[in-house]
Point group: D2
Chain length 496, copies 4
Amino acid sequence: MTTIGHLINGIVQNDAARTQNVYNPSTGEVSKQVALAGKATVEEAIAAAQAAFPAWRNTPPQKRARIMFRFKELLEQNADEICRLIGEEHGKISHDALGELQRGIENVEYACGVPELLKGEYSKNVGPAIDSWSEFQPLGVVAGITPFNFPAMVPLWMYPIAIACGNTFVLKPSERDPSSTLFIAELALEAGLPAGVLNVVNGDKEAVDTLLDDSRVQAVSFVGSTPIAEYIYSRASANGKRCQALGGAKNHAIVMPDADMDNAVSALTGAAFGSSGERCMALSVAVAVGDEAADALIGKMKAQMQELKVGAFSDAGNDFGPVITKAHQEKVIGYINSAEEDGADIVVDGRNPQVPGYENGFFVGGTLIDRVTPDMLCYRDEIFGPVLLVVRVDSMQEAMNLIDAHEYGNGTCIFTRDGEAARYFSDNIQVGMVGINVPLPVPVAYHSFGGWKRSLFGDLFAYGPDGVRFYTRRKTVTQRWPSAGVREGVQFSFPS
Amino acid sequence: MTTIGHLINGIVQNDAARTQNVYNPSTGEVSKQVALAGKATVEEAIAAAQAAFPAWRNTPPQKRARIMFRFKELLEQNADEICRLIGEEHGKISHDALGELQRGIENVEYACGVPELLKGEYSKNVGPAIDSWSEFQPLGVVAGITPFNFPAMVPLWMYPIAIACGNTFVLKPSERDPSSTLFIAELALEAGLPAGVLNVVNGDKEAVDTLLDDSRVQAVSFVGSTPIAEYIYSRASANGKRCQALGGAKNHAIVMPDADMDNAVSALTGAAFGSSGERCMALSVAVAVGDEAADALIGKMKAQMQELKVGAFSDAGNDFGPVITKAHQEKVIGYINSAEEDGADIVVDGRNPQVPGYENGFFVGGTLIDRVTPDMLCYRDEIFGPVLLVVRVDSMQEAMNLIDAHEYGNGTCIFTRDGEAARYFSDNIQVGMVGINVPLPVPVAYHSFGGWKRSLFGDLFAYGPDGVRFYTRRKTVTQRWPSAGVREGVQFSFPS
Amino acid sequence: MTTIGHLINGIVQNDAARTQNVYNPSTGEVSKQVALAGKATVEEAIAAAQAAFPAWRNTPPQKRARIMFRFKELLEQNADEICRLIGEEHGKISHDALGELQRGIENVEYACGVPELLKGEYSKNVGPAIDSWSEFQPLGVVAGITPFNFPAMVPLWMYPIAIACGNTFVLKPSERDPSSTLFIAELALEAGLPAGVLNVVNGDKEAVDTLLDDSRVQAVSFVGSTPIAEYIYSRASANGKRCQALGGAKNHAIVMPDADMDNAVSALTGAAFGSSGERCMALSVAVAVGDEAADALIGKMKAQMQELKVGAFSDAGNDFGPVITKAHQEKVIGYINSAEEDGADIVVDGRNPQVPGYENGFFVGGTLIDRVTPDMLCYRDEIFGPVLLVVRVDSMQEAMNLIDAHEYGNGTCIFTRDGEAARYFSDNIQVGMVGINVPLPVPVAYHSFGGWKRSLFGDLFAYGPDGVRFYTRRKTVTQRWPSAGVREGVQFSFPS
Amino acid sequence: MTTIGHLINGIVQNDAARTQNVYNPSTGEVSKQVALAGKATVEEAIAAAQAAFPAWRNTPPQKRARIMFRFKELLEQNADEICRLIGEEHGKISHDALGELQRGIENVEYACGVPELLKGEYSKNVGPAIDSWSEFQPLGVVAGITPFNFPAMVPLWMYPIAIACGNTFVLKPSERDPSSTLFIAELALEAGLPAGVLNVVNGDKEAVDTLLDDSRVQAVSFVGSTPIAEYIYSRASANGKRCQALGGAKNHAIVMPDADMDNAVSALTGAAFGSSGERCMALSVAVAVGDEAADALIGKMKAQMQELKVGAFSDAGNDFGPVITKAHQEKVIGYINSAEEDGADIVVDGRNPQVPGYENGFFVGGTLIDRVTPDMLCYRDEIFGPVLLVVRVDSMQEAMNLIDAHEYGNGTCIFTRDGEAARYFSDNIQVGMVGINVPLPVPVAYHSFGGWKRSLFGDLFAYGPDGVRFYTRRKTVTQRWPSAGVREGVQFSFPS
């Protein structure tokens, strides 16, 4: 059986230490093994990145960008293979994997513009014949720790821009579906990255802690669940590093009485059940304003959900696939059970989906639960499964209060035709990414991704302009040239 | 005796709890008492800031800026009184206090431009008929914790821009010289800030910890010593807050053989001894390249230092005043003693300055120490006194290696006429603020202030553009308007 | 009788040449004389500006900005006197003059931020060890030619930012109401502008042509009517100068059936009749979509217009005052006559307003004309009087086609509650300044002002970021420092 | 014989009207014919561009950028063929043609970042609950008119960014070497540009005037000689268009006594003779400060020029090739003759170069002329040939005065090691593109290209950020949503 190794200093290798099973969630079978890097292996990767830094930092940004141009081409040429690897280990249907990859490629495209993005600020005559400018220099070795649900996209949120800015990188991807991530990293090297500029180590907590504690690592980017994000942020910060840690979500959509209901239903169906709901931007709660809107929504959703096809990743006719593990499948079903016990109304029940030929796959069918209330467990937690909750409220303000009371603040959306409602909502809601009639308001690559409240720890968001700022360190130079003929008196006061 | 209180919700008050002595360091006498806020008092200030936030946030930026315009006028009109208060409690000579104030005012001027600075990014057609924009919204309640050495300037680095961005503020200034800070905050209210927008609490660790732990405080800015900066950064981060913590420094100036030596000596004299060296940007180490440069430097410095006048703050003819406390005076003298014991050459000895009429003042005279080596205690620590060390090296690269090996990376400078030396130095040195023939390369208010390595924890610098980014939270809105005639099919894939 | 002179090199003077009457339009009487500068006088002003340029250009931007801070204070302190001067010569009621002045002051506030606005772009390593940066340097002497309708505001659109950028300025204001303009310029000098930095010449075509033809004048900003704008742009360009020339307007407001009609009527009344309609942003055409909306609009407008008070500038209870001249009064009445002859419906007739005690004032009352069609003279021309035309159409698209067919494209507005209508309108309409439920969408000072089509000639708008760009010239520096040890071979190819 | 036609609406066609000879300047023979478009043909191209505009404008910028990504790939894949076409018709050696192409490709790379570059400015709460933002919308049909000397690069300065911004384009390249330009345009279509988005018309003054006069053309970019630039700017402006017109140059290099002389000589040799001096950035005047520097320079130049190889484009071992036409060859030789007659010292004489096998080619050899003075014809005019003049002066200031007195201000350079000299020079010199030890300071694609004085007419430079601004029109939207419960009173004053 294949064992997936690490990419260190340009070479794929395996430290022959501990390994862990990698499953095909569509069949429930173990398909590969993944090596789990020990401390020494991670330190080897850090050392490779450290060694590669000086030359890479001095490479003109335009030349670094040109490798990103080539990387984009290779990603496009290898899209089918990448999507197959994602599907096999994550379970995502190919059209969805392609969407993920495309979003990742957009970040590579953004990194191609790094000469423009790195421009510093130049001020003439900050004092008489004194000039001052700010440069944005790379940090050195930076690390990324990424989740299973987007094995292609989330790493591409991080290292293309980090590397284009002149840093070198150590990536610790999810050990659940490591193959596509590793394959993509190899393409980056094929595109021309010098050895050591991008390194990948597979691993678990030991690898993570090594990255968090090693003083050579200057910054850490993390995407995952909130408890781990909090741990990462706290530990990296205690070690004096800069850190951005993105956590969980519970994304609500407000459905206003004036919404275009067919459009809202279409949007919600895709945003709630796509990728089995295993997205931090999944829309998992619909908040209907008024019983009339709620009844219309439930009725149309129910009808639409008849058409949902859950099944193996390899059949492009499916809408979504299995969840990531057996344990997670049971957890999702447990949330549905709890909702039922708490008195909610299970309108469409996905607990026993039929997927002929894939009886051991980790499937959960699309589930719609009405009359959910904020005190229910299914409402408080992030389920990360194909489950859409409906909460009924009497007013838009009540809907907004509900959203603001939740601990997460990642994404949200409102369905309406009314300009005033849209403006009031987007201005006041305590959520970082807001959609107006857009169910998955993931910012494009030239904006930045991040939630508020306990969905993100740090002050700069992921990718886009904030990514550039996160992966660079400001240096301000103030310059004057003494003229042989001009001598100044001593200046004891603070210069003004 | 006067007891200096707190400014909470627009009212100067005193919680009548613990107090601490405030000294006049020129005479060594206790001049006032300062109240030390307990947890409840700090929470009251936070509550006031929290209550003031919603209305302040919705006030148009231009109207917020106009209060800053008025604040600037009041600062200028009250400059004499501010400088007197600074001098009395800090010991700084009036011309130096005025320099400090002027630098603070520049930050108010920068805050006057906040409508421009808050501009978000607007993108048309991120998808077909879909628009997306990023807004930079205020965080809510933010806190600042500031040091004794710039009681006017450092608070003004923080709250003018924080408040102009729409936040409300709780300031915990140094308890050693609190009067000018409080007076200036009252002027800000006089300029038109609504009650609760700016609050000042005097206090010690209890007050600090309350700010770090209270969940209503969204962000913390700190300036002080590195051990405390590290504590603040770690604790604020563990509480999920954003934090920027600026610490200590050991600023080196390289003196190249081609330097304009008279200019360098003038510059060094002011930058090493001004404000008794109690500046995080003080130049405390001169690194002479070659013995010829070293000998010339020492010779000219010695001559120039004959003219130095140390004395009470109230005499504008003095060059610098006392250090802040008796304990600090002893500590500085201890460092000079240790240098002597370690074999360095005390060229000019300031351990027994004569200041007639002020025999109990906390004075240390200007001190010049030659032949210092990196292993000496006086080199490793930040002395924060009027002591200039000279290290002799053989090459520019050796000088740069020395600087890069030090734990701090705040400011540095090179004296040279050579363009290539200046570029190589500023590009490669691991220091955040670099001067070319500029001894105190404090960035102007429209750039940002920050060191590298253990001189700053966090990813954004103080004031200027980074200040705006630190005190705001990105929100990205993605908007489309459904057309009655256009219905989309369900979209299960991740949108690309 | 007072003769208003010129401000040249810091001195108000009079070349004792030709003069022209200045009227008080409220009484119809001649109140002053204004000197009309000959070629020699204008050249003297240009020479003064040229002489002042080198020192002013080298003054640090922050110091230039501080004069703008002071200028703002003086404008606020002298607001009453400025408004009185405006009212006396222009006829504008004091509350309206104050609004104009306030908008002008906003441009001074913007100019206070010039250190930030002048930041150039700095790129490290555009090639190996080669850096490049762009500076935005002032042009030298620049000229502004401004209209009668905003004697305070339009000059303040131009010279504060031009001067803050380091240019020196020659202003040729309208000869119809020159006093407030001159008074304000004197305040700018009082604020600290060195002599020669700002010069004012009153005059007519001879003065204008001198400015357009003199090779020392680097750039010309103009605001006025379209035929003159076209002349200015063409002649200045033929002389190799950069030029921005803002012309006329015919601003339409679309009233949609779903509009908040009371709000629309209030907005239209102010925007159509305020300042007697003598504004290039006046809303002069309401396009009602559907007869129902049209009838409701007409009914409510008619009622609202009963309350309109036209009268002398000195009575703050009046809504608007006289038009600028007897000739213009007759021209406006002529347009109303022509509408009547062309078959339009004069709903409210302002041709014979009663203003007791001011029988010779140049008054026209608020006029509402329904059933106007695009072929009528009153529709094709800019009337520049208190006349609101109503055109009835069947659809929003028809309304937009109408707007796009007009030669002007300055401002426009839509009244609606619908997000999609607002987006479609603002995206597609061929107009530079668009309001959504905002009747006078004059951009704030930190954005830029400009129309499309024949309302503006040039590529950069007035004031705001475009103003900064217009008044500066890009200079790009590319720098490398040869290392003694590194010699390059000859390079014959174009460097890549 | 082949006749080179036009590319209109996606189809290469020939209007079978007038034609003109295209030469191979290496052999002196006519190799092809080029069609000269009449007015009707140009109008057909404009109509095609006009028709393509609405759909192209609405294509999301990211999708437009992706065509640029593909275009870049095609340019790289077809580099050899492009260079062959350039060489054949222009005479440029392949390594030089490749340098030109590479610089062109950089502009395509820059255009790939257009989603970032098109970001507008978004302001929340410009008034209470009123938001305002600026969009940068495409203009419509824009035209480019380009010179013979860079048939690949200069068109690529213009249309990639213009098109990426959403405009459609009509290009009128030089009729002397049209093949590479046309071939590249076909690649752009192959990359995915819809028909009509990019059109190429070959032609002469009739084609140019049609572009200048047609009201559908919104903007004109021109690169060529100053007299034509002035004509273009004046006529386009008189027609109300925006225009940027780049003209001639006389680029001086100051050689300071402290210069690294070997480096300076290498740099000058390439910059003066590369591409036979037919570059608007060619260094054609060396200004030596002091006779010592002058003598050293002349001595080393003379030696270095022994190695110069002039010959046919097809031999990569040559340094440079022929000039463009027989007439131009004679003109260049005429200038050398005049210098000799005027008393200058012809140090190296290129009037009779020997190029065996290419006796009819339009060759001029590298020529070095010492002791040139500012009154000589060879100094006043742009020679545009492989001729380097040396002027001797006594001081740096004298050298700078000389440069500033010349009518052109395109590029310039200083050779020195001194930081102060570099800063003083770059700050004060009246030239748009300044090199410090960089002989051809052509800004990289992410900065902008343009000269000062009579080297550029207009206010925005070519390509880079200025290119984006030139090819877009600002639109400012101000939006508020009326709340049903909130009614405002009528507002007659100008809003403040």
